[in-house]
Amino acid sequence: MSLVELHLPPDTQFVSLARLVVVTAARRSGMDEERLEDLRIAVSEATTNAILSHQRTEEAQRVVLSFGTRPTDEVFQVTIADAGPGFEPLPADDLVERDWQMEGGLGITLIRNLTDDVEFVRGEGMQVHLRFGVSLSSNGAS
């Protein structure tokens, strides 16, 4: 898989750039328009979390997005990596118990529901892996 990397300063103005670049790459990979909208939101949520994490801890390092298509299993993957303290994501079924007046936590709910697969890895920083199926054979992309 040939990965492309995008290094973003921890400034919220760059979240829209992350959406634009990743969605453009996924479109070239053959992802259909409906799934591109899902990807756009998931990338926005994960990048927002990463940048806000750096801002809260005054971490000057850049947030790194790595993305590309795995031809072997036709998956478009985006990894959003930050150097912040990380977080423990809410469990997937938490929405049922959710109080609508809580303004936080909606982003993780959206990521879980809009991706085909997501992995939250808390290590020295936080890595969020977003995965979306793409059909390489139907459009000739490689």
Binding site: T12, Q13, V15, S16, R19, E37, R40, I41, S44, E45, T48, I51, L52, L95, R98, W100, Q101, E103, G104, L106, G107, T109, L110, N113, L114
Partner: protein, 113 residues
Amino acid sequence: MELTLNDRKDGDWTVLEVGGEVDVYTAPKLRERLVELVGDGQYRIIVDMTKVEFLDSTGLGVLVGGLKRIRSHEGSLALVCNAERILKIFRITGLTKVFPIYDTLDEALQDAT
């Protein structure tokens, strides 16, 4: 695309027309405008999202905050939205049960209470 905000009175309602992208960078402007309107005594607000190109959870959070603020004054906040890509995120987060959502501004003005 930047966020655009325009508001006007229509009968008992204040219509706040939102356009462009609502994300972590732009949402504070929307929050600020809603706070100003409620602070000015506008407790019946329709947020017309017909021209919104993108909305994520930060935008949802601002709308939830606005609704709480308005309900504390026993007011109403209704939304106008007919874009499937945006309605989808209201459904996923369960917020379709919280906000009255209309396809058109005319419907909102006629039916919203």
